[in-house]
């Protein structure tokens, strides 16, 4: 610990900590553009100047480590004047096209201009015009005019993604960010440069012109794209449409970053890809009615003591809580023993970070938790092969499939769908329309998509992380726990024929 003094107030901070971070922790804002806690220090923007006691010149805070007895001031006239003029210099060639800029609302220039701006420009020269809307591959659009040359993106490609795709070219006021010969960027981490860009120079193509950021609300969640379990923010508009995912800082998992494949997973939660109504053979019905049909079929099988003809196929993307309720109801309560899944232990054994960064080979977010849950409930898992085999021999007359999202288990799904005959009654609890369409004969029940769920996921390293939920796109979709609770309730009700019998007696 070290005792430092900022603006005459004493704070205890970790020795060696960056002064910008230390000040921010204690509620003092030091404006900065080029400094990013996840990257090296460049000292290019000169926005973070502070006055250090005993030093006649202004110093940059981002290059200052906290040590015992450090005394700085951010509120003197000298500092304020310097920040004001620095910002003025940054704005000399900035086009100020905020109305058409996607960054507007979360832009460093806008925020600092309102706080520290010099409202009357003294620049009389014409602005230097540069290229606008440069295509940098599939995911990024670059606007060279808007760039303030902080170099965060350049340092990111050099230090984190290690592609060194971006660089600063030309000199003086004609300096621009760019790739060699304007070649497209191709790696899996490029959209992080959009996140760290303090202005609207790098913008995401996927989010381009989609929505203004001030309309968006955010919810904390965990990415379901792979077994890494990156912490994310889900940006949605009043719970009706999800527009993008942004990484959330977690020093143990993903730090400040996130991969582009994970960023695309939000599309599976939006209405156009969702199973919105319960359906059987192309006929839509209310969820309650679908659960009644399901419970009636289960009840006859259980009443005839044929529970070994009930099979359940699980996807390792279910949360720990969902697995718990599934195993409690089906295995403990009703004594069903036939559980199937993909070969999860093999998937976990082969799991590795594909590019040495975040994205992993195992595309399920909760494989480790899945294996753990099967152990605690002493479930014997069979492979999809044996399920297909048993379906062929009509040993299974009632099959329940829990939630493959998107195209994850595509081959397994199509094999099961092909093996299903009219002799097997099948129920599919999923959020995805495409999955429901691949099982045309099944009773489809809409459940929550990954980003809407609340529950915990165990990642590849055994770290269990909580998803808070708090987002529901439409009313018809229920959580798996709710569906199972309704099923149990429906199951305990006497059959209609029984009721009639009772009435007659």
């Amino acid at each position: 610990m070290a005792k430092i003094t900022i603006n005459g107030k004493e704070f205890d901070v970790d020795a060696g900590k960056n002064l910008v971070d230390a000040a921010e922790e204690n509620g003092i804002e030091i404006p900065h553009y080029c400094y990013h806690p996840g990257l090296s220090i460049a000292g290019q923007c000169r926005m973070c100047v502070v006055e250090q006691e005993g030093n006649p010149k202004l110093q940059i805070a981002c290059n200052m480590r906290c040590s015992e007895g450090l005394k700085v001031r951010t509120d003197t006239e000298k500092v304020q004047e310097a920040v004001k003029w620095n910002l003025e210099f940054h704005l000399i060639n900035h086009p100020i096209d905020c109305p058409i800029c996607d960054q507007a609302g979360e832009c460093g220039l806008q925020d600092y201009y309102m706080k520290y701006g010099k409202y009357q420009s003294e620049m009389r020269e014409e602005k230097v015009l540069k290229e606008k809307a440069v295509d940098l591959g599939e995911k990024i659009v670059l606007d060279k005019e808007r760039c303030i040359l902080c170099g965060r993106c350049v340092r990111f490609t050099q230090e984190i993604s290690k592609t060194a795709a971006l660089g600063i070219y030309n000199r003086g006021d004609r300096s621009v960010i760019g790739t060699v010969n304007d070649e497209p960027m191709t790696d899996n981490y490029q959209v992080n440069t959009v996140d760290i860009c303090p202005v609207g120079a790098l913008t995401s193509k996927d989010f381009r012109f989609e929505q203004r950021v001030w309309f968006l609300d955010e919810v904390e969640s965990i990415c379901g794209g792979c077994s890494k379990g990156c912490n994310i923010f889900v940006h949605h508009k009043s719970g009706k449409h999800i527009y993008r995912l942004k990484p959330r800082y977690n020093s143990q998992v993903n730090e400040h970053w996130m991969c582009d494949i994970g960023r695309d997973t939000y599309k599976n939660s939006n209405y156009d890809r969702r199973l919105t109504q319960a359906r059987l053979g192309g006929i839509e019905m209310p969820t309650a009615e679908a659960i009644q049909i399901w419970a009636a079929d289960l009840k006859t099988l259980v009443a005839m003591e044929q529970t070994d003809e009930i099979g359940i196929w699980l996807s390792p993307e279910l949360t720990n809580e969902e697995l718990e309720s599934v195993f409690k109801l089906f295995a403990k309560e009703w004594g069903i023993s036939k559980f199937f899944s993909e070969n999860v232990s093999a998937i976990v054994a082969q799991d590795e970070a594909i590019d040495g960064l975040l994205y992993r080979k195992d595309h399920y977010p909760n494989s480790a938790g899945f294996l753990q849950a099967t152990k605690t409930y002493k479930i014997k898992l069979d492979s999809t092969d044996s399920l297909v085999d048993q379906l062929d021999k009509t040993k299974i007359r009632h099959l329940i499939i829990f939630g493959p999202e998107a195209d994850r288990a595509k081959t397994d799904n199509s094999r099961i769908a092909n093996a299903l005959t009219h002799q097997t009654f099948s129920v599919l609890v999923t959020a995805q329309l495409s999955v429901a369409e691949s099982f045309p004969q099944a009773l489809g029940i809409p459940s929550l998509s990954h980003l809407e769920k609340s529950g915990s996921l165990t990642n590849h390293a055994g770290l269990t992380q909580e998803m808070k939920g708090g987002l529901k796109m439409f009313r018809e979709a229920l959580s798996t726990q709710d569906i199972l609770a309704k099923l149990e309730e429906e199951y305990r009700k006497p059959l209609d024929s029984d009721r009639k019998l009772e009435a007659r007696l």
């Binding site: 096209d97 905020c98 109305p99 058409i100 507007a104 809307a133 012109f209 989609e210 203004r212 309309f215």
Partner: protein
């Protein structure tokens, strides 16, 4: 006099007659036109409104007849009635980045406050002067770019002010008229 008093009290029709005379007088005076009437013969006669009157919106054009709006959505942000719906897209013109592919105003929701006009940074939306709008279905009150930019009532007079100064239409409306009318 006592007798007359008691008579009038007893024979109420005297008062009724007084009332009828009053009604009849107004009827005849109005018919002949001696008193100034507060109503007008609407479709033939029209009231003159102030230049500041806020009617159905106009989306202005650039001189090359393109829409002036850049789809920044500040009008939609500022709108207290939440009646503006914009879908932004990449403009077909390579010199323009962003333009509204869809710009819809729900005239049934709109309160004609003019906040959209004030919020617009490029003078792309203005409050027009027309107020007559009748439709058979509510959905027809959701009007799009075509109607807002070039409806017949605008008579082709629709270019944004930063290209050409508008002619100031002088109204012969005066405050005293308004006072008399109310």
């Amino acid at each position: 006099m006592k007798l007359l008093d008691s008579l009038t009290r007893r024979f109420y029709f005297v008062t009724a007659l007084k009332g009828l005379v009053m009604t009849g007088r107004h009827f005849i005076f109005n018919l002949v036109g001696i008193t100034k009437r507060h109503t007008i013969q609407y479709p033939e006669q029209r009231r003159k409104y102030s230049n500041r009157f806020m009617g159905i919106h106009v989306l202005t054009k650039k001189p090359n007849n393109e829409i002036a709006c850049t789809a920044c959505m500040l009008c939609a942000t500022n709108c207290p009635a939440e009646c503006i719906h914009i879908v932004a897209a990449e403009s077909p013109n390579p010199k323009v980045e962003k333009y509204p592919a869809v710009y819809e105003i729900d005239l049934m929701r709109c309160v004609f406050c003019g906040f959209c006009e004030e919020a617009c940074p490029v003078d792309a939306i203005r409050m027009g002067r027309d107020y007559e709008y009748a439709e058979l279905s509510e959905r027809n009150f959701v009007v799009g770019i075509e109607y807002l930019m070039s409806r017949p009532a605008l008579k082709g007079r629709n270019v944004s002010i930063y290209h050409e100064t508008d002619k100031v239409v002088k109204s012969d409306f005066q405050v005293s008229d308004f006072k008399k009318a109310s």
